[in-house]
């Protein structure tokens, strides 16, 4: 099967407008005859469900949480980009487009990214109209801050809880439609398979997580907005329930899976403290606006700090190595996430790490506190040389900007970050790979769409800060509602789809069989035992830096672990009840396949780009070395029974508007 990206012709700035002018529309009276299933209710799924219902379609929305308000989009901290140029600092649609393509290391699809930049400004207007309390300046206008990878201030935010506020905005829009009866909401339900009839997606099989009942749901189209697969690493910044199941099940039924090896490792997370750890906590990237990242210059100082004989504050300026400012003078602490993460790993690998395990660097706010404090003292006409006063005033300002993040750090680490610098280390955060979609956001299964983090299209090999929230809402509010109409237009006379079709019965049987297999397996080890083992393989051999030898080993180890899992996993309880271990088992089964494809994709890509760093391919200075002649394509994998048999399809990436150059933030 040949991949057709369906990118419209014409100049990039006109593509989306021209496209919208020419697609098929569905008459409002006919929309009432069409049903759409939306799986996942985060920023992408929630905004899509609300908008599709607003347009008049009958929407059935599914989430595994007890309420759509708990989708993991809620945890996003820093902000959302939009090309508003409110600051007049030179921002534009083109510049946001350019920064995003460059930030993604030239592995994103130009047309999609330009569309994203175009609708970005509408997102802010929409959210404000919905009552999302974004940060304001004293004049009553919206405030902005800057983020890694850009030189303009285009990030809109709500303290360190931007994702929460944007998600609650989408949730409120959903609530309005649920109240009107246009969305039927299925909380605590998990999609366990997709149903394909005559080659088209026509429904799903879902499990009611409270009763264990297996349900059939039909629709004229299915939209997957189920997020990313970072939990394949076990330890990540994802919520514990975040899973790959919906995306993986559609992959097994024909949706190609693109660029699985592109994983974003976020530089500013709280380091691992021990083996009991269940997840990692991210500290917003916005902290890098004011925090300076450093390690000791001398190995013996680093060692003394690890042994508790010295403290960070014992080291003078001269004894500190502000390695990002040293290596990347133009961007300094604001280099993109992949660059900052690798730089931290490089220093820690060289022996300069500052926590007990040697896997942490400092994020220091002392300079910011002093700078803000002096300014505040000056404004108030107080003594700028009074150190205690300046510290107090500066601390208050830092508190107003990042208070909740500092409190979170204090609770977890039990150290006051206003007094001693934070310790941070990179952690798995966001996955840029996902189901392959065309310009319409449709997968290779007709009628099955994929939006937000669950698709691959907009971020390339690396995601810039504040761009995930933008993509989720762009897809859900403004892109999918157009493109899905074009697909559904021929279906207006079809009428409801029966769930008694043989395809539904067959899909349901497969789901029930898998569940019964787990329940009756009676093995020796818990689900977590296998998940943690998978996570260790992934982090050690498929993590921040990879090489051919490690990847080859990982592929074999994961396949062996999968075999052991099916033989030896123990799932207590029964199928017909609330059973959290069973939920985990079905999810980990998918991760055990996805992890292998992930490693296979990483092994075939003989280059370094963004969130994929192959040790064999680097510049003399240790920067990522791309190979545009051979790898400027999307790797889209077709499922053929098991991950090792997956077949590679290539979508060439044509850059007509941006010249491919080596990314430099120096």
């Amino acid at each position: 099967m040949a991949l057709d990206s369906k990118i419209p012709n014409g100049p990039i700035a006109d593509k989306w407008t021209n496209y919208k002018d020419h697609i098929n529309l569905v008459n409002p009276a006919n929309k009432r005859n069409l049903d759409i299933i939306v799986v996942g209710t985060g920023l992408a799924g929630g905004s899509a469900a609300a908008t599709l219902a607003e347009l008049g379609y009958n929407v059935k929305a599914f989430c595994f949480q007890d309420s759509p308000r708990r989708a993991h989009s809620i945890a996003a901290q820093g902000g959302i980009n939009a090309a508003k140029n409110y600051k007049g600092d030179g921002d534009s649609v083109y510049r946001l487009f350019y920064d995003t393509v460059k930030g993604g290391d030239y592995r994103a699809r130009e047309a999609n990214v330009h569309r994203l930049a175009e609708v970005s400004a509408n997102i802010i207007d929409q959210c404000v109209a919905q009552g999302v309390p974004l940060a304001r300046e004293y004049g009553g206008l919206l405030d902005n801050r800057s983020f890694g990878g850009t030189l303009v201030s285009r990030t809109f935010y709500a303290q360190g809880q931007t994702g929460q506020q944007l998600l609650l905005g989408a949730y409120s829009a959903m609530n309005r439609q649920i109240g009107r009866g246009k969305i039927k909401m299925y909380n605590r339900h998990e999609m366990l398979d997709i149903v394909i009839v005559n080659g088209k997606a026509r429904g799903i099989i879902a499990r009611n997580l409270i009763t264990g009942e297996i349900e059939r749901h039909s629709a004229h189209a299915v939209v997957i907005g189920s997020g990313g697969y970072g939990n394949v690493f076990f330890l990540s910044t994802n919520a514990m329930g975040s899973n790959a199941t919906a995306a993986w099940k559609i992959h097994k039924k024909g949706a190609f899976f693109a660029n699985p090896c592109y994983t974003q490792i976020h530089p500013t997370c709280i380091p691992v403290s021990g083996d009991h750890q269940s997840k990692l906590t991210l500290m917003s990237e916005s902290l890098r606006n004011d925090g300076r990242i450093w390690v000791p210059k001398k190995l013996e100082d680093a060692q003394a700090i690890r042994e508790g004989k010295k403290k960070a504050i014992d080291l003078s300026e001269d004894e500190r190595d502000y390695f990002l400012e040293r290596r990347y003078p133009a961007f300094g602490n604001l280099v993109p996430r992949d660059v900052a993460s690798r730089a931290a790993k490089e220093r820690c690998d060289a022996g300069f790490g500052v926590n007990k395990t040697g896997e942490a660097v400092y994020l220091d706010f002392a300079a910011a506190i002093e700078r803000y404090g002096k300014e505040a003292a000056h404004v108030k006409g107080l003594n700028e040389n009074d150190k205690a006063l300046v510290t107090k005033l500066g601390t208050d300002i830092v508190k107003s900007k990042y208070g909740n993040l500092f409190q979170m750090y204090l609770k977890i680490v039990d150290e006051d970050p206003y007094v001693t610098p934070m310790m941070i280390y990179p952690a798995v955060h966001y996955t840029m790979g996902g189901t392959w979609v065309d310009y319409n956001l449709m997968t290779t299964i007709p009628g099955c769409f994929s939006i937000g983090e669950s698709n691959f299209s907009d971020h390339g090999a690396n995601r810039l800060g504040a761009s995930a929230l933008m993509q989720g809402l762009a897809d859900g509010y403004f892109v999918l509602p157009y493109t899905i109409g074009d697909y559904l237009a021929p279906d207006i006379k079809m009428g409801p789809i029966s769930t008694d079709l043989p395809e539904f019965i067959e899909a349901e049987k497969a789901v029930v069989d898998q569940i019964n297999k787990f329940i009756n397996n009676n093995g020796k080890h818990s689900v977590d035992y296998f998940h943690k083992k998978l996570g260790k393989i992934m982090w050690n051999k498929v993590g921040m830096a990879r090489n051919a030898k490690g990847l080859t080993e990982a592929i074999e180890e994961i396949a062996a672990l999968r075999e052991e899992f099916y033989k030896d996993v123990k799932v207590p309880g029964s199928a017909n009840e609330f059973n959290q271990e069973l939920e985990k088992a079905t999810r980990v089964a998918d991760f055990l396949e996805l992890g292998e494809l992930f490693a296979k994709d990483a092994l075939h890509r003989n280059e370094s780009c963004g969130g994929h760093f192959r040790e064999e391919y680097q510049t003399e200075e240790g920067e990522a070395l791309r190979d545009d002649d051979n790898f400027a394509y999307v790797a889209a994998w077709e499922y053929k029974g098991k991950p090792s048999d997956a077949v590679l399809h290539k979508e060439p990436l044509n850059y007509e508007n941006i010249k491919l150059v080596q990314r430099s933030y120096k």
């Binding site: 308000r69 109209a129 009552g131 309390p133 909380n187 269940s278 991210l282 818990s526 207590p572």
Partner: protein, 248 residues
């Protein structure tokens, strides 16, 4: 650390349920309370027993899913935190810890420590939104200036995570703090004023239908709220409700 856990076990909504005692050892102060339960569950599974069901998801204090009543307090002894942010360093070696679900008529138990909080969703369906078309054809965001103080207060109310600690801790099982936070968020913004009358009447009506109790101003909800949602919101909601009732 060595601890004795006394945990509420209840097979399903119909089951009567009761406290079961579990001794546990090897707990480290750096573990979160939920990680301590993970350790317990791993032990139970390895012994062939059923693990304890409890709700949790983001484990970074923002999703509002975790909902334990620990030693008689919602989210346990620490202030301003959810259960996932509660760390074992708050307990002493040898402690006995009681762990129960959030109890309220409007929060029926599903299993063990898991309760059904969908009543909160239904209150939102009744009016927790601004009726704006999701078309993207709204006016420029800066055409609606909002004084910073109002925006900040609105944000403070909007920061509610819907965990239900306020209900669990209230002797009347009142949902006033939660509902008032939502009413306040919109009441403080110009965008929300247009339909303010209907909003407060509908949400309060639904709150009563769900079986939540009345507010008697004990203030326990504010004390236990992990996000510091202020009682001022209840006062604001009462003013909004009174004005709406006089109008309507």
């Amino acid at each position: 650390m060595k601890l004795t856990l006394k945990i509420w076990r209840q097979k399903n909504a119909q089951d009567k349920g009761g406290i079961v005692e579990y001794p546990i050892d090897g707990i480290e102060p750096d573990m979160s309370f939920l990680e301590m339960l993970d350790v317990l569950n791993e032990e139970l599974i390895n012994k062939g027993e059923e693990p304890v069901a409890f709700d949790h998801d983001c484990r970074e204090g923002i999703c509002g899913m975790c909902s334990l009543f620990i030693n008689g307090e919602a989210h346990g002894p620490d202030r301003g935190v959810t259960t996932c942010q509660l760390h074992m360093r708050m307990f002493k070696d040898g402690d006995t810890i009681f762990i129960e679900p959030f109890r309220a008529k409007a929060f029926p138990v599903i299993k063990d420590l898991v309760v059904d909080r969908s009543s909160f969703d239904r209150i939102q369906h009744a009016g927790g939104f601004i009726s704006v078309n999701t078309s993207g054809n709204t006016i420029d965001a800066n055409a609606i200036p909002v004084p910073k103080d109002d925006a900040d207060k609105s944000f403070d109310a909007a920061a509610c995570i819907g965990c239900g600690a306020c209900v669990a801790t209230c002797k009347n099982s009142s949902a006033m703090l939660f509902v008032s936070a939502k009413v306040s968020q919109y009441a403080l913004l110009p965008q929300g004023k247009v339909e303010a009358t209907d909003r407060v009447l509908n949400m309060v009506h639904q709150m009563d239908l769900e079986g939540f109790g009345n507010c008697t101003n004990t203030g326990a909800c504010e004390v236990e709220c992990p996000k510091g949602i202020s009682l001022e919101n209840i006062a604001r909601m009462n003013r909004e409700y009174l004005a709406a009732s006089l109008k309507g």
